[in-house]
Point group: C2
Chain length 214, copies 2
């Protein structure tokens, strides 16, 4: 019985790890859709989303069962109370990637980001996708060093986000209100995606150490 | 021991209820700050925020203790696994009210919303604040009828949000990119606030009935 319990507990971890990989892939494809006007890539984000949701449902159901049936203690209990919350962050990251993909499809075959902002968006997207990769490693391997890097990456993304507003609000902006609004919302999707990556990683590290960071 | 347990369980409910009231007040004050250029109201949102965070911390700490020490079953266990997630939604609502308050303060003594959008923003804010009141009643009294109304209110807010974009993207928009971006982000804060109200209410009803809605 106890062995079966350990197997089930490991499975919750594997599900979270798979979700982390899913949302990294989703944002990579959504960005290809956005900056390369790659329709197939954007559509794959929408097609893959149900898999993410199914995994989140599994995380929740298995967590509940394990707590209900096994009355776990200490470290295991912490894992089980934290797992659905990490799952919720990952789900939200998937939703944000979907927002980016939908914005790309809405403007297709045109590109949803004006040329003047393409560079800063490519940098924001690079940072976000790199963060997703690190977050995946934190979820899979509980790597505290990578978790600490995520805070610095997040600062970098916030700085890029400010630079984006600087470009839009400078005197030379000639693309009108609609393009500015698209950019503001898209910028926010990347920024929130990064916030949730930091949050998921922070919770995983709390799991491992029992200590809340800062 | 068991009586003490019931007292503690009730306390978690009271904390969530207080948080629900906090975030309703926060969005009411933030909106007064935004639409009435009321600086004191906007500042009160920032001043009150630490109370919300302290309550969320209490919800988490007490939930963990109760599960760890009491090995609760069935309905109680469901309450305890759901409570921190409702707390997370409420915290997020408080953060969104804070975003609105900060936007109001950034433009003070001017109003952050242009006249042309004041009407649709007043309607969005009314809907959001009304939803917060219903959500509070759902959290406090588990009123399933009010929870169902929240879905319709949310549709109403989404419709207002679309109307806002319609005004901004119409030919007569003369306020420039910065005002459009402010409005787009503010609109999103109200929309997300409403989404979290629906989500918190849905989880509370799940708590009570054990059934996920649609």
């Amino acid at each position: 019985m106890r062995d079966e319990y350990q197997v089930q507990l490991a499975l919750v971890g594997e599900l979270l790890s798979a979700m982390a990989e899913d949302v990294g892939t989703a944002m990579r494809h959504a960005t290809a859709g956005l900056l390369g006007a790659d329709r197939a890539a954007a559509e794959s984000v929408l097609a893959d989303h149900p898999t993410l949701i199914a995994r989140r449902d599994q995380v929740e159901a298995r967590t509940y069962e394990l707590v209900a049936l096994q009355a776990p203690v200490a470290a295991d209990l912490r894992t089980l109370l934290t797992a659905p919350r990490v799952g919720a962050d990952l789900e939200r990251m998937g939703n944000l990637a979907r927002h980016v993909a939908r914005a790309a499809l809405r403007r297709y075959p045109e590109r949803a980001v004006v040329d003047q902002l393409a560079g800063v968006f490519a940098s924001m997207a690079d940072t976000a996708v790199r963060m997703a990769g690190k977050m995946r490693a934190v979820v899979a391997d509980h790597d505290a060093e990578l978790a600490a890097q995520l805070d610095r990456d997040d600062d970098e993304l916030d700085e890029l986000h400010r630079r984006m507003f600087g470009i839009m609000f400078a005197a030379g902006w000639s693309h009108g209100a609609a393009a500015a609004v698209d950019a503001a919302l898209l910028g926010r999707y990347y920024e929130r995606y990064a916030d949730h990556a930091v949050n998921a990683a922070t919770q995983v590290i709390y799991l491992v150490t029992g200590e809340h960071a800062g």
